[in-house]
């Protein structure tokens, strides 16, 4: 089997319109700056449109679907079988990136590609097969209309190949349709609808052509062992392994972050029946997770009808449980399976249905849905997928429906994406996360709820330090999702290594809440950048890792602003800002304003919510969109003043010494009549001029005027050179020999002036200093008497 060393840097680009394909390579600089997976996917998408991203129809031919294997994918690294999907969302109208743990990523990588870009649109349903360096376009007429799982059985019965399939929801343009790979999903914001709009039913990659080996194998193995150890002992990982993500139910009831009756309330004891712990007992669950997973949060279990089904995740349980007043786990399991098969996002479907229930209750819209009524849910889900009856409208999502019928205040979405099952009134940092997350109300963008509630490091009801941690984890998760490792590993990778693991919990709490800038210094997530380096051979420090995350996150925001996102979109549904009475003892709403202000400042966004051009330039996202300004050089005022004074003193002293010292007199006698010389500093008006008149008298003549040309012009090349001379760190002779002074005139005359300056310095300075300033110290006759006379004449004129 052939080998790939870490990464291939090859992108397969398939054009459905022309049924053609080609290979593209990844620029090594882009690889360094955007790491891989999500980051590179965004960069590739961005570059396809040359920075002009407005006006792209998400369901049009021009909207590409980008799938990127992660750097870790296929290497056997811990929790690494992931890949990213990137496109413009039909639900939100902005960028959507999604991470999936299905087998597609590993298959793509071992087929020899780091990414797959799908462009154009087919006239008839197709599915594509990628095998042995070839792309085959199959007719998908018979597959069209099939459920997702049925499609998988038809095209990849062995289950060993990497698949991407859509269900009827994707085919029919449900705006929150998903894409399935194995039993995992590119779930959010309607990627399935984009695939359906291209008439692309499925993609099948037959991998295993290459073996992926890290560039630095020893380093890789060492890090993998450490990573497994951290995950094995992390309490969060253990809880997820035993009870899945639904283990978030019990802490949610206490903390008050669970959604009840379309987020009207935020706690309900009846929800305990739907906890991970309760379901583990009821269904005798077993792990059913992604490939290469050490956490194993996914579970399957045997339902009362005897069928083995996937246990729903916390978000599905929350939104299809208390949020519609349903406390029957069997029903949620059944609907979960149905939604997966129909190919739609359980969160957005749940959020839209609960909005419709409340809108019906308030008389805004006629509906067959109502809170607590569960017998028609399966029918309504099928109606949504096939766009029938009321389902045709519900397929549009809660934002569009609330704009059409009213009820915006209880349409629980941000930027059009329905909120996951965490009520931000129970964790304000999570509220900020929802408001600013790039793809809308995404709970995973920074997931500060873990710090606020699950680990209790931060007080959930304060604005303090929230913006800091949201920004940090946005950057962290963006980088982590570009490596395409599972986001759930972050708790183990951040909390288990030294030195954080030796800090008592109370110290971490104080540090994170009150001194976040210091606390962050102690975080050691070298596992992640180390793994990247060991696989690719590209050096990556922890700092580079987080900077790459920042770059990726801000690139996504920058793309969104080109698609129309601005500060007004960074908010929460009115319910969380105005309704404090939620059935929880703490009656508070989210204090979003101060957190947003801090967030914008830290992030470097301007008031309109756009990333500042300096930030974009600094991160290398744009080359230059602003005109470069010419800077006027400043002034060294005190140095100029000092040099000016010294030039004055030296000029006057030469004049005085010429009348007193026989040596200087003799030097001047040798110089021609009307001789003049100047000493100045280049680039400034600092200078002095000394003239010898026709009677032989030597006079200080002040500053050299513009256009004057003395017989000898000595010029110090810079103010610093003048400072060296006049602070006696260099003698005049040394300055000349070091090329700090230029002499314009006769060399013998220049030498005479240097000798004169030396003698003057001996008179002016104490011996200890003068010895430093002159080349050779020769004490003149009557030194002290002459010195007094020179000083008096210099000072008094």
């Amino acid at each position: 089997m052939k080998e790939i060393r870490g990464i291939t840097n090859r992108i397969l680009e398939v054009d459905l319109s022309d049924k053609a394909w080609s290979l593209k390579s990844i620029d090594p600089e882009d690889r360094r700056m955007y790491l891989g997976g999500k980051g590179l996917g965004l960069k590739i998408y961005h570059d396809m449109f040359s920075g002009s991203l407005s006006g792209i129809d998400p369901l049009g031919e021009e909207n590409p679907l980008v799938f990127m294997a992660g750097v870790l994918t296929g290497t056997g690294a811990v929790c690494s079988a992931r890949f990213a999907g990137v496109t413009k969302s039909p639900l939100t109208g902005i960028m959507v990136t999604s991470s999936c743990g299905g087998p597609f990523g590993g298959a793509l990588k071992t087929a020899g590609y780091d990414g797959l870009v799908i462009r154009g649109k087919s006239d008839v349903p197709v599915y594509i097969e990628i095998m042995d360096g070839n792309v085959i376009f199959h007719d998908a007429g018979e597959l069209w209309g099939m459920m997702s799982s049925e499609t998988q059985k038809n095209i990849a019965p062995s289950g060993k190949d990497g698949d991407l399939v859509i269900g009827p929801a994707g085919e029919n343009g449900v705006l929150y349709a998903n894409i399935m790979s194995g039993h995992r999903f590119l779930g959010r914001a309607g990627m399935g609808a984009v695939m359906g709009s291209k008439k692309l039913k499925a993609v099948l990659v037959r991998g295993r052509a290459y073996r992926v080996r890290p560039v630095k194998e020893l380093m890789f193995r060492k890090i993998r062992t450490r990573a497994s150890g951290f995950i094995a002992k992390n309490s969060f990982s253990k809880k997820y392994r035993s009870f899945g993500t639904a283990s978030n139910v019990l802490p949610g009831i206490e903390a008050g972050y669970v959604p009840v009756t379309n987020f009207k309330y935020r706690t309900d004891r009846r929800f305990e029946a739907l906890s991970g712990e309760a379901m583990a007992e009821r269904y005798k669950t077993k792990s059913s997770s992604c490939v290469s997973c050490s956490i194993q949060c996914g579970h399957k279990g045997t339902f009362p009808d005897g069928e083995v089904k996937q246990i729903p995740e916390y978000e599905t349980v929350g939104l299809w449980g208390p949020n519609i007043d349903n406390y029957d786990p069997d029903l949620i399991g059944e609907w979960n399976l149905l939604m997966n098969d129909l190919g739609m996002d359980t969160i957005s479907a749940g959020g839209t249905v609960s909005w419709a229930m409340e809108a019906g209750e308030k008389g805004l819209r006629e509906t067959e849905l109502s809170f607590g009524k569960t017998d028609n849910i399966s029918k309504i889900l099928a109606d949504i997928a096939y766009r029938r009856g009321e389902g045709a409208e519900l397929a549009l999502g809660s934002k569009r429906l609330s704009e059409r019928y009213g009820g915006k205040e209880f349409a629980i979405h941000v930027k059009g994406l329905e909120m996951a099952a965490y009520d931000p009134r129970g964790a304000w940092g999570q509220g900020l996360n929802y408001a600013v997350a790039n793809r809308g109300a995404c709970h995973l963008s920074a997931y500060p709820l873990a710090l606020e509630v699950l680990f209790k490091f931060l007080n959930p009801y304060t604005t303090r330090a929230k913006a800091f941690w949201v920004v940090f984890f946005e950057n962290f998760n963006a980088a982590l999702n570009s490596l395409q490792t599972c986001q759930f590993t972050s708790f183990a990778y951040v909390l288990e290594p030294f030195p954080v693991n030796i800090f008592p919990s109370f110290m971490l709490k104080i540090a994170m809440q009150y001194f976040p800038g210091i606390a962050v210094i102690f975080l050691n997530y070298g596992i992640l950048n180390g793994t990247y380096e060991s696989i690719t051979g590209i050096p990556l420090s922890q700092r580079d890792f987080i900077t790459a995350g920042k770059r990726i996150h801000i690139l996504e925001r920058y793309m969104n602003t080109q698609m129309g996102i601005s500060a007004k979109d960074d908010t929460l549904p009115a319910r969380f800002l105005t309704e404090a009475d939620t059935g929880h003892p703490v009656k508070k709403t989210v204090d979003l304003g101060p957190m947003l202000k801090d967030y914008y400042r830290i992030k470097g966004y301007d008031r309109s919510g756009k990333p500042d051009s300096r930030v974009l330039r600094k991160l290398g996202i744009v080359d230059s969109t602003e005109k470069i300004k010419s800077v006027k050089p400043g002034r060294k005022f005190f140095k100029e003043l000092y040099v000016k004074m010294m030039l004055f003193v030296v000029g006057r002293a030469i004049s005085a010494a010429a009348a007193v010292d026989p040596g200087i007199k003799k030097e001047f006698e040798k110089l021609p009549g009307n001789f003049s010389f100047s000493l100045g500093v280049a680039g400034t008006d600092l200078s002095m001029k000394v003239v010898k008149d026709k009677n032989g008298a030597v006079k200080y003549a002040g500053r050299l005027k513009t256009g004057e040309n003395p017989a000898l012009k000595l010029e110090l090349k810079s103010l610093e050179a003048a400072m060296m001379l006049f602070t006696f760190r260099e003698s005049t002779a040394t300055s000349l020999s070091r090329d700090r002074i230029t002499a314009d005139g006769n060399i013998p005359e220049a030498c005479a002036v240097v000798r004169i300056l030396n003698i003057v310095e001996i008179y002016l300075l104490p011996k200890v200093i003068a010895e430093l300033a002159v080349k050779r110290y020769v004490s003149p006759e009557n030194k002290h008497k002459n010195r007094v006379e020179i000083y008096l004449k210099t000072l008094l004129g």
Partner: protein, 205 residues
């Protein structure tokens, strides 16, 4: 025309750049530009911490200098219309040099951050200032010193050009002293000597 010298005794020697090295060497830039009739340099610095430091030091060096103005840029794509000279960090001199700007004076400022010093690129002036060299890492330092010694020794062994030999021989003790004293300025000088020697032999061409 009849040649009076034998062919094997012919050699040529050329140095393309003026070297200014030492304490406060950067302050010479405005004077050198003025001598070439220039006063508005474009200053290319990389987007790195070293680049930031260079910006700070250069801004200070340009104070009270008589320059009409200067602009900091990070890449060749972002050139403002008004400039009459170029100052470039050695980090970027591979892309920005006399070939890119043939009509204006080009000054290269050597940075300690540059992974590989290359004095064979064409510039008019090379500035070696201790303030920009002192951050050089110890491992990089030792590596560079070794490279210089290897290069110089090879030239001494192979070259028939007496000037090349002289430059290469001069670079050896400097490189050794720089290692002993951990003096980056000596190291940079040794590199200039060795590269100048290599230029004559065609090694850097």
């Amino acid at each position: 025309m009849e040649q009076s010298m034998e062919a094997e005794k012919i050699y040529s020697f050329f140095t393309e750049a003026k070297i200014i090295s030492g304490l406060k060497a950067l302050e010479n830039i405005p004077f050198e530009l003025e001598s070439s009739g220039a006063s508005r340099p474009l200053v290319f610095v990389p987007v790195t911490p070293g680049g930031k430091r260079m910006k700070r030091v250069l801004s200070s060096a340009f104070k009270s200098s008589g320059l009409a103005g200067y602009s900091f840029c990070t890449s060749i794509e972002e050139i403002p219309p008004e400039y009459d000279s170029v100052v470039v960090s050695s980090d970027l001199s591979g892309k920005i040099n006399k070939h890119t700007f043939p009509d204006v004076p080009v000054i290269m400022v050597v940075s300690g951050d540059t992974e590989k010093w290359d004095f064979s690129v064409t510039t008019d002036i090379v500035i070696l200032d201790i303030r920009l060299l002192k951050k050089i890492k110890k491992s990089v330092f030792m590596n560079k010193a070794k490279q210089i010694r290897d290069k110089a020794e090879k030239i001494i062994m192979d070259s028939d050009n007496p000037f090349s030999g002289a430059y290469a021989e001069a670079s050896l003790p400097l490189a050794e002293e720089s290692e002993r004293d951990m003096d980056p300025l000596k190291l940079a000088n040794a590199a200039v000597y060795a590269d100048t020697a290599a230029l004559q032999t065609g090694e850097e061409r």
